[in-house]
Amino acid sequence: MTYIIYISFSFMIVGLFLAAIRFIKGPTAGDRTVALDTLTTILVAGLFLLAYLFGRIIYVDVALVYAVLGFIGVIVIARYLEGAL
C-alpha cells in the first residue's frame, strides 16, 4: 500500500512540475490559466491523498473548499480575458 501511495505522489509531483513549466513558458494568458487550473486540480487530489496519509477526516474539508474555490478563480480570470469585467 505504501508503495502505491509513493508512486501516486511521484506521478503527481511530475505532473505539477510539468504544469508549472507550462505556467512559466506559456506564451499567452490562456496557457497560464490552463496551467493554473491543472495545478489546482492536481493539488486538490494531492490534498485528499495527504488527508489519507494523515488519517484524519477533518483535513478533507480543505480539499473540498479548494475544489470549489479554485474553479471560481479560473472563471474570474476567464471572464477578464473575455473582456467582461
Binding site: F54, R56, I57, I58, Y59
Partner: protein
Amino acid sequence: MDDKLFEILEYGVYGASILLILIGLYAVLTKRSLIKIVIGMSIIDGGIHLLLITIGYLKGGTAPIFSPGYEEAAAQMVDPVPQALVLTAIVIGFGVTAVALSLIIRLYRHHHTLEIDEIKRLKW
C-alpha cells in the same frame, strides 16, 4: 534518511519563508509600478505567515483539533497560537490590500499612469 532530510527541511522552510519576504521587499523597494508594489506587499505577507506557522510546527505533530479519536492527543499537537495569529493577520492583510488597490484606482483616475516616479508630486 528521513532524519537527514528533516534536517535539511528545517533550513528549507525557514529559508524559503525568509526568501519570500526578501523577494517581496525587493519588489517593494525597486519596482516602479504601483500594482507591482502591492503584489510585493502580499508576497511579504505570505512569507511572514509561513514563518509564523513554521515556528509552531511540531515534528510528527497533528492539527490542534480534538476530533473523535484524538481527544487525548494533546501532547502531539502543533502549536495553535501562531495559527490563530496568522488567521487574524491574513484577513487584516486582505483589508489593507483592498484599500491600497482602491487608492491605486483613484490615483490612476487623476494621473493616468502607474509609474511611481511620475506620481511623485509631493516631496518625499
